[in-house]
């Protein structure tokens, strides 16, 4: 089985994001980057599929040289090979997905795995777009994968419950938290990753259709309001929840 995992290099969750001086991008000074957490579930799923079915695993990311560190982490976890689609420009989801799809098309992969979303821009668009460009079935928010003779049964999260779907390989899947418990890279894995290949290719050009006009921080959270501390506060609480917060 040939498994491709597409991963992203995103600001660390502890980063205090600041808007850059251009008002359109984040200020990258002092920001630490990490492997997108949802992508860890995709990598673990790929490794488990390989352990079960044999074959090969490959990890891919689109971006600048800085993405190599994140690719190397996937290699340290046990993925065998990495491709960096080099591109320093700002692209929208469509453009990124197009370039990824062009590369994946040449690989004849059975499974193409993503994290369900990147925690930088939260667009949640790329897995679906890539599947569309490749003409493949796509399952999102996957929490369980069962593959048997090319038949794929996936469990996915939906509002208030789970849904079980059936499809077949080749396909695109987007991993959700709960799919598995990602392994830690071992010291041996980290050492081995130093000598595993990272192939660099120029990312295919593609148009972007969405342009960021401005970026701004959300207004600071309003402090909570204490209405009362006993049962007498309940009527007023209900009134406020209904009329001010409009949640009832």
């Amino acid at each position: 089985m040939k498994i491709v995992v597409c991963i992203n290099h995103v600001p660390d969750t502890e980063t205090k994001v600041k808007v850059g001086t251009d008002g359109k991008t984040i200020d990258k000074a002092g920001v630490n980057y990490m492997l997108n957490p949802y992508d860890e579930f995709a990598i673990e799923a790929a490794l488990q599929l390989k352990e079960k079915f044999g074959g090969e695993t490959l990890v891919m990311s689109l971006g600048g040289d800085a993405h190599k560190e994140t690719l190397r982490k996937a290699l340290a976890m046990g993925i065998e090979k990495a491709i960096l689609l080099k591109d320093d420009s700002i692209r929208d989801s469509y453009s990124i997905a197009k370039a990824l799809a062009e590369e994946i098309r040449t690989l004849s992969a059975d499974c193409i795995l993503f994290g369900k979303q990147s925690i930088d821009y939260y667009n949640e668009e790329i897995p679906g777009l890539v599947a569309e460009f490749l003409g493949l079935p796509s399952v999102s928010v996957v929490v369980r994968i069962n593959i048997n003779n090319g038949k794929v049964i996936c469990e996915r999260e939906i509002e208030g419950g789970h849904e079980v779907v059936e499809t077949k390989i080749p396909l695109v899947m987007a991993a959700q938290k709960g799919l598995n418990e990602p392994r830690y890279p071992s010291l041996k894995g980290i050492m081995a990753a130093k000598t595993k290949p990272i192939e660099e290719r120029q990312a295919a050009t593609a148009s972007s259709y969405v342009e960021v006009l401005t970026m701004h921080k959300p207004p600071p959270k309003q402090p909570g309001k204490i209405i009362g501390t006993d049962v007498n506060a309940v009527p007023e609480l209900i009134r406020l929840l209904r009329e001010e917060a409009k949640v009832l």
Binding site: M34, R72, A76, Y184, P185, S186, L187, I190, M191, K194
Partner: protein, 391 residues
Amino acid sequence: MNEQMTMEQVAPSFEFTESMRMVLEVARNFAEKEIKPVVMKYDESQEFPLEIIKKLGELGFMGVLFPESYGGAGFGYLEYITIIEEISKVDPSIGLSIAAHNSLCTNHIYTFGNEEQKHKYLPDLTTGHKIGAWALTEPTSGSDAGSMLTTATSDGDYYILNGSKNFITHGSVGDITVVMARSNKSKAKKGISAFIVENKTPGFIISKKENKLGMRCCDTSAIAFDNCHIPKKNLLGDEGAGLAQALTILDGGRISIAALALGIAQGALNASLKYAKERKQFGKPIAEFQAIQWKLADMATQIEAARLLTYRAGYLKNQGKEAVLESSMAKYFASEVAVRATNEGVQIHGGYGFIKDFPVEKFYRDVKLVTIGEGTSEVQKMVIARELLEP
């Protein structure tokens, strides 16, 4: 010697390499997810955390410094320091287990063992399948290790060990112990030899598991030898070289205790920063009071200085250079810094620092080991002065 030191030797680079950052991330995530939830459980029960140690073995943390051909991870001292610091920020007693296992037992066999001994013992140790201990101290010989009384009497194909050792890390949970014992009574310091002892050997006795102030889940026990027959092929290096070997091993060990101290100090600082921002008195967070700010500033500055000394000693070891002076300086300074940092950490927490709900209480208890174990602060000063005064 300082005059001859170039800047490159002092400061090869202040940046972490990519692999150091990866190692740090693994150690930090592992400590947060796998160790933090059970720290107080193990502290209170004093149970050796075998399950965690086995997982550390799978990650390669029980054989950081040793080549892959012996099952190790093949990293150097800088990654080793990083790992011990990160684990000790969460649980110093597990940091101590990693340090003692790697630096003492395993490193002794790696440094002074022959190929047959290395191939027989190292793969199980470097992967954490077996736990290593190292026995130098005795009830009547601590800093004065050369006055030890345990004997190793030659008898045909065996040495017969008799005597007792105490304060032995992993003494009651270890599988393999490197033991220093007197093989020649007429030669004082040169009459001591080192042996690989399998703990299951008849005559190896676990006399007492100690009930300690801190570092409580890291096993410390007294052991004894009662006509314990050790095959001659388990002699490490030459007969009579045991004490010199032990002192060399302690040089590397000191770097690991410095890293352990760093972790404790940084853990205490992190907890204090968090608490000082949350705790309000007189209508504002206590972090806004200068009395608290100065404590935090002193802690942070001293920790950073200790970190630089420790990494520099590690750098010299990686280069295969002499690091007796630097290791002792790092161990002495970092451990004294850690004692001060945990003291101030408890002070910042006030009453909450005196109860077990906040991590500084445990750091305050655990820390005292680092000015005592693997050479007291006074012994470190003795070593430093000797290095300075001897040509």
